[in-house]
Protein backbone atom coordinates (compact mmCIF):
# COMPACT_ATOMS: atom_id res chain seq x y z
CA UNK A 1 0.00 0.00 0.00
CA UNK A 2 1.44 3.34 -1.06
CA UNK A 3 0.18 6.18 1.09
CA UNK A 4 0.63 9.90 0.52
CA UNK A 5 -0.23 12.12 3.47
CA UNK A 6 -0.75 15.83 2.97
CA UNK A 7 2.04 16.26 0.45
CA UNK A 8 2.97 19.83 -0.35
CA UNK A 9 5.85 20.84 -2.59
CA UNK A 10 6.72 24.43 -3.37
CA UNK A 11 9.46 25.84 -5.55
CA UNK A 12 10.02 29.16 -3.84
CA UNK A 13 6.66 30.90 -4.00
CA UNK A 14 5.16 28.62 -6.64
CA UNK A 15 3.27 25.72 -5.12
CA UNK A 16 3.49 22.69 -7.42
CA UNK A 17 1.67 20.19 -5.22
CA UNK A 18 -0.82 21.32 -2.61
CA UNK A 19 -1.91 19.12 0.29
CA UNK A 20 -2.27 15.93 -1.72
CA UNK A 21 -3.36 12.77 0.09
CA UNK A 22 -3.78 9.47 -1.73
CA UNK A 23 -3.97 5.79 -0.97
CA UNK A 24 -2.81 3.41 -3.66
CA UNK A 25 -3.28 -0.29 -2.97
CA UNK A 26 -1.42 -2.94 -4.95
CA UNK A 27 -2.83 -4.27 -8.18
CA UNK A 28 -4.48 -1.12 -9.52
CA UNK A 29 -3.96 0.44 -12.93
CA UNK A 30 -4.37 4.15 -12.38
CA UNK A 31 -4.51 6.98 -14.87
CA UNK A 32 -3.18 10.29 -13.58
CA UNK A 33 -4.63 13.16 -15.56
CA UNK A 34 -3.96 16.86 -15.47
CA UNK A 35 -2.97 19.80 -17.61
CA UNK A 36 0.68 20.67 -18.21
CA UNK A 37 2.20 21.96 -15.02
CA UNK A 38 -0.62 20.52 -12.92
CA UNK A 39 1.83 18.73 -10.68
CA UNK A 40 1.75 15.15 -12.02
CA UNK A 41 5.50 14.94 -12.57
CA UNK A 42 6.28 16.69 -9.30
CA UNK A 43 4.06 14.26 -7.43
CA UNK A 44 5.83 11.26 -8.93
CA UNK A 45 9.22 12.77 -8.14
CA UNK A 46 8.14 13.22 -4.53
CA UNK A 47 7.10 9.57 -4.32
CA UNK A 48 10.49 8.55 -5.74
CA UNK A 49 12.31 10.73 -3.24
CA UNK A 50 13.89 12.95 -5.88
CA UNK A 51 12.49 16.03 -4.19
CA UNK A 52 12.09 17.33 -0.67
CA UNK A 53 8.48 17.86 0.31
CA UNK A 54 6.23 18.45 3.29
CA UNK A 55 4.12 15.57 4.52
CA UNK A 56 5.00 11.92 4.39
CA UNK A 57 4.91 9.09 1.90
CA UNK A 58 5.02 5.49 3.06
CA UNK A 59 5.20 2.13 1.38
CA UNK A 60 3.53 -0.50 3.58
CA UNK A 61 4.06 1.80 6.53
CA UNK A 62 7.74 2.44 5.89
CA UNK A 63 9.17 5.65 4.46
CA UNK A 64 10.74 5.31 1.06
CA UNK A 65 14.46 4.72 1.46
CA UNK A 66 17.23 2.73 -0.09
CA UNK A 67 16.01 -0.47 1.54
CA UNK A 68 12.65 -0.46 -0.24
CA UNK A 69 13.22 1.88 -3.21
CA UNK A 70 13.58 -1.13 -5.52
CA UNK A 71 9.84 -1.67 -5.13
CA UNK A 72 9.27 1.46 -7.20
CA UNK A 73 10.23 1.81 -10.84
CA UNK A 74 10.05 4.81 -13.12
CA UNK A 75 9.62 5.48 -16.82
CA UNK A 76 9.68 9.08 -17.99
CA UNK A 77 9.40 10.98 -21.25
CA UNK A 78 12.70 12.61 -20.27
CA UNK A 79 14.24 9.12 -20.40
CA UNK A 80 16.34 7.68 -17.61
CA UNK A 81 18.38 5.05 -19.43
CA UNK A 82 22.13 5.24 -20.17
CA UNK A 83 22.45 6.38 -23.78
CA UNK A 84 26.03 5.21 -24.27
CA UNK A 85 25.60 1.52 -23.50
CA UNK A 86 23.65 -1.30 -25.13
CA UNK A 87 20.32 -2.75 -24.07
CA UNK A 88 22.02 -5.92 -22.91
CA UNK A 89 24.43 -3.86 -20.82
CA UNK A 90 21.36 -2.31 -19.17
CA UNK A 91 20.13 -5.81 -18.41
CA UNK A 92 23.44 -6.57 -16.66
CA UNK A 93 23.33 -3.31 -14.70
CA UNK A 94 19.72 -3.77 -13.58
CA UNK A 95 20.37 -7.39 -12.70
CA UNK A 96 23.28 -6.32 -10.50
CA UNK A 97 21.32 -3.63 -8.68
CA UNK A 98 17.71 -4.77 -8.52
CA UNK A 99 17.30 -8.16 -6.86
CA UNK A 100 13.86 -8.79 -8.41
CA UNK A 101 14.81 -7.89 -11.97
CA UNK A 102 13.30 -10.31 -14.47
CA UNK A 103 15.65 -11.03 -17.37
CA UNK A 104 12.96 -13.24 -18.87
CA UNK A 105 10.43 -10.41 -19.03
CA UNK A 106 13.13 -8.09 -20.35
CA UNK A 107 14.13 -10.36 -23.24
CA UNK A 108 10.50 -11.19 -24.04
CA UNK A 109 9.58 -7.53 -24.33
CA UNK A 110 12.72 -6.66 -26.30
CA UNK A 111 11.85 -9.42 -28.74
CA UNK A 112 8.21 -8.42 -29.00
CA UNK A 113 9.08 -4.81 -29.80
CA UNK A 114 11.92 -5.89 -32.08
CA UNK A 115 14.50 -3.75 -30.32
CA UNK A 116 18.19 -4.54 -30.88
CA UNK A 117 20.07 -5.87 -27.87
CA UNK A 118 23.57 -4.84 -28.87
CA UNK A 119 23.27 -1.27 -30.07
CA UNK A 120 23.80 1.84 -27.98
CA UNK A 121 20.48 3.32 -26.94
CA UNK A 122 21.42 6.75 -28.24
CA UNK A 123 21.09 5.33 -31.75
CA UNK A 124 17.47 4.25 -31.23
CA UNK A 125 14.61 6.25 -32.72
CA UNK A 126 12.48 8.28 -30.31
CA UNK A 127 9.73 5.68 -30.41
CA UNK A 128 12.19 2.90 -29.66
CA UNK A 129 13.69 4.89 -26.82
CA UNK A 130 10.25 5.30 -25.26
CA UNK A 131 9.62 1.59 -25.59
CA UNK A 132 12.97 0.72 -24.06
CA UNK A 133 12.38 3.10 -21.17
CA UNK A 134 9.10 1.35 -20.36
CA UNK A 135 10.64 -2.12 -20.78
CA UNK A 136 13.20 -1.28 -18.09
CA UNK A 137 10.50 -0.05 -15.72
CA UNK A 138 8.47 -3.22 -16.28
CA UNK A 139 11.38 -5.63 -15.89
CA UNK A 140 12.79 -4.16 -12.71
CA UNK A 141 10.60 -6.33 -10.50
CA UNK A 142 8.92 -3.38 -8.84
CA UNK A 143 5.48 -3.49 -7.23
CA UNK A 144 4.70 0.10 -8.18
CA UNK A 145 5.47 1.17 -11.73
CA UNK A 146 5.32 4.93 -12.19
CA UNK A 147 5.16 6.16 -15.76
CA UNK A 148 5.28 9.86 -16.63
CA UNK A 149 3.91 10.44 -20.13
CA UNK A 150 5.93 7.52 -21.47
CA UNK A 151 4.43 7.51 -24.95
CA UNK A 152 5.21 11.02 -26.14
CA UNK A 153 6.17 10.52 -29.76
CA UNK A 154 4.95 6.96 -30.28
CA UNK A 155 2.45 6.25 -33.01
CA UNK A 156 -0.98 4.90 -32.12
CA UNK A 157 -0.24 1.29 -33.16
CA UNK A 158 2.81 1.28 -30.96
CA UNK A 159 0.72 2.47 -28.05
CA UNK A 160 -2.12 0.02 -28.65
CA UNK A 161 0.37 -2.84 -28.72
CA UNK A 162 1.88 -1.56 -25.58
CA UNK A 163 -1.32 -1.40 -23.54
CA UNK A 164 -2.16 -4.93 -24.61
CA UNK A 165 1.24 -6.35 -23.73
CA UNK A 166 1.12 -4.53 -20.42
CA UNK A 167 -2.24 -6.07 -19.58
CA UNK A 168 -0.91 -9.48 -20.58
CA UNK A 169 2.20 -9.43 -18.44
CA UNK A 170 1.11 -7.57 -15.33
CA UNK A 171 0.79 -9.76 -12.28
CA UNK A 172 -2.11 -9.15 -9.89
CA UNK A 173 0.17 -7.51 -7.30
CA UNK A 174 1.73 -5.04 -9.75
CA UNK A 175 0.47 -1.48 -9.70
CA UNK A 176 0.74 1.00 -12.54
CA UNK A 177 0.47 4.76 -12.13
CA UNK A 178 0.37 6.26 -15.59
CA UNK A 179 0.27 9.99 -16.21
CA UNK A 180 -0.94 10.78 -19.69
CA UNK A 181 -2.89 13.20 -21.86
CA UNK A 182 -4.40 10.40 -23.92
CA UNK A 183 -7.65 10.06 -21.98
CA UNK A 184 -9.75 8.27 -24.62
CA UNK A 185 -7.09 5.70 -25.27
CA UNK A 186 -6.55 4.62 -21.72
CA UNK A 187 -10.13 4.81 -20.49
CA UNK A 188 -10.75 1.06 -20.97
CA UNK A 189 -7.39 0.07 -19.68
CA UNK A 190 -7.34 1.84 -16.32
CA UNK A 191 -9.31 0.86 -13.23
CA UNK A 192 -9.10 4.22 -11.51
CA UNK A 193 -8.64 7.84 -12.55
CA UNK A 194 -7.03 10.56 -10.46
CA UNK A 195 -7.30 14.15 -11.65
CA UNK A 196 -4.92 16.91 -10.67
CA UNK A 197 -5.47 20.58 -11.30
CA UNK A 198 -3.04 23.26 -10.15
CA UNK A 199 -1.41 20.91 -7.69
CA UNK A 200 -4.61 19.68 -6.06
CA UNK A 201 -6.63 16.52 -6.47
CA UNK A 202 -9.94 17.43 -8.13
CA UNK A 203 -11.12 13.92 -8.92
CA UNK A 204 -10.53 10.35 -7.81
CA UNK A 205 -12.91 7.74 -9.14
CA UNK A 206 -12.84 4.08 -10.13
CA UNK A 207 -14.13 2.89 -13.49
CA UNK A 208 -16.68 0.76 -11.59
CA UNK A 209 -18.10 3.91 -10.02
CA UNK A 210 -18.17 5.64 -13.41
CA UNK A 211 -20.15 2.72 -14.85
CA UNK A 212 -22.59 2.72 -11.95
CA UNK A 213 -23.18 6.44 -12.39
CA UNK A 214 -23.46 5.97 -16.14
CA UNK A 215 -20.93 8.65 -17.08
CA UNK A 216 -17.91 8.31 -19.31
CA UNK A 217 -14.44 9.14 -18.13
CA UNK A 218 -14.23 12.04 -20.57
CA UNK A 219 -17.45 13.55 -19.21
CA UNK A 220 -16.25 13.14 -15.64
CA UNK A 221 -13.00 14.89 -16.47
CA UNK A 222 -14.78 17.67 -18.33
CA UNK A 223 -17.03 18.39 -15.37
CA UNK A 224 -14.13 18.25 -12.91
CA UNK A 225 -12.33 20.82 -15.00
CA UNK A 226 -15.52 22.81 -15.62
CA UNK A 227 -14.81 22.44 -19.28
CA UNK A 228 -17.12 24.62 -21.29
CA UNK A 229 -17.62 23.17 -24.73
CA UNK A 230 -19.79 26.14 -25.69
CA UNK A 231 -16.77 28.46 -25.61
CA UNK A 232 -15.97 27.46 -29.19
CA UNK A 233 -19.50 28.29 -30.35
CA UNK A 234 -19.39 31.64 -28.52
CA UNK A 235 -16.07 32.58 -30.12
CA UNK A 236 -17.29 31.62 -33.61
CA UNK A 237 -20.52 33.56 -33.12
CA UNK A 238 -18.56 36.64 -32.10
CA UNK A 239 -16.43 36.36 -35.22
CA UNK A 240 -19.57 35.98 -37.30
CA UNK A 241 -21.06 39.14 -35.76
CA UNK A 242 -17.96 41.12 -36.63
CA UNK A 243 -18.44 40.20 -40.27
Amino acid sequence: MLELNHITKAYGTKVAVQDVSLTIPQGEIIGLFGENGAGKTTLMKCILNFLRYKGDITLDGQPIQHQNIARLSFATCEHSFFPDITADAHRAFYQAHFPNFSAKRFYTLMKFFELPLHQNIKRFSTGQKNQFEVILALSQGADYILMDEPFAGNDVFNREDFYKVLLGILEPHETVLLSTHLIEEVSDFIGRAILIKKGQIVGDITTDELEEQGISLMDYIKSAYSYRSDRVMEALEELDEER
Partner: protein, 126 residues
Protein backbone atom coordinates in the same frame (compact mmCIF):
# COMPACT_ATOMS: atom_id res chain seq x y z
CA UNK B 1 -10.60 -22.35 -26.81
CA UNK B 2 -13.20 -19.66 -27.38
CA UNK B 3 -11.91 -17.00 -29.74
CA UNK B 4 -12.35 -13.28 -29.29
CA UNK B 5 -11.06 -12.46 -32.75
CA UNK B 6 -14.38 -11.06 -33.91
CA UNK B 7 -15.06 -9.00 -30.83
CA UNK B 8 -15.58 -5.33 -31.66
CA UNK B 9 -15.53 -2.78 -28.87
CA UNK B 10 -18.39 -0.29 -29.24
CA UNK B 11 -19.38 2.93 -27.56
CA UNK B 12 -22.43 3.21 -25.38
CA UNK B 13 -22.44 -0.06 -23.50
CA UNK B 14 -20.03 -0.92 -20.68
CA UNK B 15 -17.36 -3.31 -21.94
CA UNK B 16 -18.20 -6.05 -19.44
CA UNK B 17 -21.75 -6.22 -20.78
CA UNK B 18 -20.41 -6.28 -24.34
CA UNK B 19 -18.33 -9.32 -23.42
CA UNK B 20 -21.37 -11.06 -21.89
CA UNK B 21 -23.40 -10.39 -25.05
CA UNK B 22 -20.54 -11.55 -27.24
CA UNK B 23 -20.51 -14.91 -25.47
CA UNK B 24 -24.30 -15.19 -25.57
CA UNK B 25 -24.45 -14.38 -29.29
CA UNK B 26 -21.79 -17.02 -29.88
CA UNK B 27 -23.92 -19.53 -27.98
CA UNK B 28 -27.00 -18.69 -30.07
CA UNK B 29 -25.01 -18.81 -33.31
CA UNK B 30 -23.61 -22.17 -32.36
CA UNK B 31 -19.96 -21.09 -32.51
CA UNK B 32 -19.71 -21.50 -28.75
CA UNK B 33 -20.69 -24.94 -27.51
CA UNK B 34 -20.99 -26.87 -24.31
CA UNK B 35 -17.58 -27.62 -22.82
CA UNK B 36 -15.74 -24.94 -24.79
CA UNK B 37 -12.94 -23.39 -22.77
CA UNK B 38 -12.76 -19.69 -22.02
CA UNK B 39 -9.35 -18.02 -22.21
CA UNK B 40 -8.03 -16.76 -18.88
CA UNK B 41 -9.05 -13.36 -17.61
CA UNK B 42 -5.58 -11.97 -18.22
CA UNK B 43 -5.42 -13.17 -21.84
CA UNK B 44 -8.81 -11.70 -22.67
CA UNK B 45 -7.91 -8.38 -21.02
CA UNK B 46 -4.71 -8.25 -23.11
CA UNK B 47 -6.50 -9.22 -26.34
CA UNK B 48 -9.20 -6.60 -25.88
CA UNK B 49 -7.02 -3.95 -24.27
CA UNK B 50 -9.27 -3.64 -21.22
CA UNK B 51 -8.70 -3.72 -17.49
CA UNK B 52 -8.70 -7.27 -16.05
CA UNK B 53 -11.44 -6.30 -13.58
CA UNK B 54 -13.75 -5.64 -16.52
CA UNK B 55 -13.23 -9.19 -17.77
CA UNK B 56 -13.64 -10.48 -14.24
CA UNK B 57 -17.03 -8.74 -14.00
CA UNK B 58 -18.18 -10.34 -17.25
CA UNK B 59 -17.08 -13.80 -16.16
CA UNK B 60 -18.79 -13.36 -12.82
CA UNK B 61 -22.09 -12.51 -14.50
CA UNK B 62 -21.81 -15.57 -16.76
CA UNK B 63 -21.09 -17.66 -13.70
CA UNK B 64 -24.06 -16.24 -11.81
CA UNK B 65 -26.27 -17.17 -14.76
CA UNK B 66 -24.81 -20.69 -14.59
CA UNK B 67 -23.42 -20.44 -18.10
CA UNK B 68 -19.86 -21.10 -17.14
CA UNK B 69 -18.17 -23.22 -14.55
CA UNK B 70 -14.90 -22.06 -13.12
CA UNK B 71 -12.53 -24.42 -11.42
CA UNK B 72 -9.72 -23.05 -9.30
CA UNK B 73 -6.40 -23.40 -11.06
CA UNK B 74 -7.97 -24.40 -14.37
CA UNK B 75 -9.69 -22.33 -17.01
CA UNK B 76 -13.46 -21.86 -17.00
CA UNK B 77 -15.60 -23.77 -19.46
CA UNK B 78 -19.10 -23.34 -20.89
CA UNK B 79 -22.03 -25.23 -19.35
CA UNK B 80 -24.80 -25.40 -21.97
CA UNK B 81 -27.77 -27.50 -22.86
CA UNK B 82 -30.79 -27.06 -25.18
CA UNK B 83 -33.12 -25.35 -22.67
CA UNK B 84 -30.38 -22.92 -21.68
CA UNK B 85 -29.54 -22.08 -25.29
CA UNK B 86 -33.20 -21.48 -26.08
CA UNK B 87 -33.50 -19.22 -23.05
CA UNK B 88 -30.51 -17.17 -24.19
CA UNK B 89 -31.89 -16.92 -27.71
CA UNK B 90 -35.19 -15.63 -26.35
CA UNK B 91 -33.37 -13.15 -24.13
CA UNK B 92 -31.24 -11.76 -26.96
CA UNK B 93 -34.16 -11.56 -29.37
CA UNK B 94 -36.25 -9.78 -26.78
CA UNK B 95 -33.39 -7.39 -26.08
CA UNK B 96 -32.83 -6.51 -29.73
CA UNK B 97 -36.56 -6.22 -30.38
CA UNK B 98 -36.99 -3.97 -27.37
CA UNK B 99 -34.50 -1.50 -28.87
CA UNK B 100 -36.26 -1.56 -32.22
CA UNK B 101 -39.66 -0.99 -30.64
CA UNK B 102 -38.20 1.88 -28.64
CA UNK B 103 -36.70 3.46 -31.76
CA UNK B 104 -39.89 3.07 -33.81
CA UNK B 105 -42.04 4.58 -31.06
CA UNK B 106 -39.63 7.52 -30.80
CA UNK B 107 -40.09 8.08 -34.50
CA UNK B 108 -43.80 8.30 -33.92
CA UNK B 109 -45.03 5.12 -35.62
CA UNK B 110 -48.31 3.59 -34.41
CA UNK B 111 -48.67 -0.07 -33.58
CA UNK B 112 -50.57 -0.75 -36.82
CA UNK B 113 -47.92 0.99 -38.87
CA UNK B 114 -45.24 -1.15 -37.20
CA UNK B 115 -47.21 -4.36 -37.90
CA UNK B 116 -47.66 -3.55 -41.60
CA UNK B 117 -43.99 -2.50 -41.86
CA UNK B 118 -42.88 -5.83 -40.41
CA UNK B 119 -45.25 -7.77 -42.73
CA UNK B 120 -43.95 -5.92 -45.78
CA UNK B 121 -40.27 -6.44 -44.88
CA UNK B 122 -40.93 -10.10 -43.99
CA UNK B 123 -42.35 -10.66 -47.46
CA UNK B 124 -39.26 -9.08 -49.02
CA UNK B 125 -36.96 -11.50 -47.18
CA UNK B 126 -38.71 -14.49 -48.76
Amino acid sequence: MISFDHFQKEDGLPVYLQIVFYIKRGVVAGTIQDGDILPSRRVVSALLGVNPNTVQKAYRILEEEDLIQSRSGAKSCMVLNEPVIRKIRRELVENDTRSIVHTLRQMGLSREEVHSLIDRLWEQEV
